[in-house]
């Protein structure tokens, strides 16, 4: 009898979990830590819900959304027109919600005497036009380029906003994940890399200038949310259609002051208040 009760209980438990719904979140590696933290906190508050978070890159997440294998796609870049078209072909209507902000920091080795670069100089470096640190008053050393794999939103964002859609130099060594880029630059005295500002450990942030005449700005919480840091961006959640039910609750919680505070705790930059309120799903 006891055993039957136990089995019945188990079945009921499984069933109720199934009822509460299994939400999967997939995509951007930049966002994966934030997604996990949000999921953790949300599940603590709502014991019935099960949320699975995985990374893989924004492109991966968007492809998963289009192929119908995830409920929420995390992306560190807006979807491309091409992707909207593909989604439409498959009967998916992506709905975009900006959930946090991020700055793209440019990483240098701590011993590198160069401390600031303009956007044009960065473009020159990453398109392979400028190949030596001596151009910026550094020593006569070749610049070693590190970047992200081409499924990364950071790759696409950097390409769009810094390279103006030109190609990366073929010499760019592409690594899986911002952590790998940071690790590489921390070991390579003449290396340069880029990635979300939350990741810079053991490397130095390069101050970035919009152009020759403007001021050099270091990527910090204030400069990014205030808009003075030139390479910053919104981070998105994409849904298939306007979210309802638990998905809606989840995203509205993430946008709430409480959710945004969680973002800040794990080194992302919260949305300015009025934008967060505007993004709430009614």
């Amino acid at each position: 009898m006891k055993r039957i009760a136990l089995i019945a209980g188990l079945v009921l438990a499984t069933f109720s979990i199934a009822l509460a719904g299994n939400i999967t979140i997939k995509g951007s590696d930049t966002l994966v830590r934030l997604g996990q933290k949000w999921a953790e906190e949300y599940m603590k508050k709502n014991p019935g819900s099960v949320i699975q978070v995985s990374g893989g890159g924004s492109g991966t997440g968007i492809a998963a959304l289009i192929n119908g294998t995830t409920e929420i796609c995390q992306s560190s870049r807006p979807m491309k027109e091409k992707e909207y078209k593909l989604a439409k072909d498959k009967g998916v209507t992506p709905h975009e919600v900006a959930v946090a902000l991020d700055g793209i920091a440019v990483f240098l080795h701590e011993k590198n005497p160069v401390a600031e670069l303009t956007l044009a100089q960065l473009k020159g470096i990453y398109t392979g036009v400028i190949t030596n640190w001596k151009e910026f008053g550094g020593p006569d050393q070749k610049i070693i380029l590190y970047g992200r794999e081409n499924n990364s939103g950071t790759y696409a964002f950097f390409k769009e906003h810094v390279l103006n859609e030109e190609d990366y130099a073929d010499q760019t060594q592409t690594l899986p994940g911002t952590a790998a880029v940071v690790n590489a630059v921390s070991k390579d005295e003449w290396g340069i890399g880029y990635g979300g500002i939350a990741w810079a450990k053991g490397v130095k942030d390069c101050a970035v200038k919009k152009d020759d005449s403007s001021q050099a700005v270091l990527p910090t919480m204030e400069t990014v949310s205030g808009g003075s840091y030139p390479i910053s961006r919104e981070l998105y959640w994409y849904f298939n259609g306007v979210p309802t039910g638990e998905l809606k609750e989840l995203v509205n919680w993430a946008l709430s002051p409480e959710g945004q505070k969680v973002a800040e705790e794990v080194d992302y930059i919260p949305l300015p208040k009025e934008i967060a309120e505007k993004n709430l799903i009614k």
Binding site: G59, A63, N151, T174, L175, P176
Partner: protein
Amino acid sequence: MEKYQFKPKSRLREFIGEKFIALNALAALIGILLIFTFIFKEAVPIFTDREVQEEASLSKMLYKQVYYEGREPKWSWQPNSTVPKYSLLPLFLGTIKAAIVAMLFAVPLAVGAAIYTSEFASRRMRELIKPVIELLAGLPSVVLGFFALVILATALQKTFGFTYRLNAINAGVALGIAVIPIIFTVAEDAMNAVPKSLRDAAIALGANPWQVSFTMVLPAALPGIAAGVVLGFGRAIGETMIVLMASGNAAIISAGFTESVRTFSATIAAELAEVVFGSPHYNVLFFIGTLLFIFTFVINLGGDFILSRLKEKLQGRS
């Protein structure tokens, strides 16, 4: 004695057993065929679909392309560019470079170890060396890749002063470690398979152990060693995780081994997760998969052929 004799009933059992094994073999064969068909099917649009060909035709994969006005045409792998470019040449070069370094590193070590264990080591030594090297084969490649990424790369750069930390040599050495057990096992087996009668004959003619090893056993086992090398080469070409982590993944064309390389397999691993099903990029990745499949298949076939020739030769059938 009686219990070793077959009873009539066991005839049936034997029949069923035989058919069961044959069925298993057939299933494996069909499985391989299906896998190949699936991979190839996804690559076919490159040859048939106009739209796909516009972005990634075979000629675009093989020749230089101009993509900015006023700039030199070049071979380049930039599938996510505004004008996608799918040159296979840098990837092919990268694959070959990493494999060559792997072989240069692994062959002397593996063959040397095989000669030592088979010819000179005491029984106790042999019983120690063999399992240790074969254990190496069980090392997950991701662990080797991580080792190469974090430790080996720094050590090599400090020693040789490479400009690029992650380069063909770094990836090749790590690949070599993965390949050593394959070459060692096959080579050692080949030398062990040299019949005792041949050794006895050589000794009877007054040869010392060195002469026996290097003038008799080694030449006789050479096809087997070659087969091991070929199999190892096949593995070096297809291995993914190590090159993904340790090679730097930059698709450049150069003659040197101190620059980063991007290999076929690493490209598939890095990019397949991101592409949308059915896009030209997706088809190209499967085309690369087909190429890899054919490469390794042909290489393994060659290895098997050499190996079977050796067996025939040693058994005096040729």
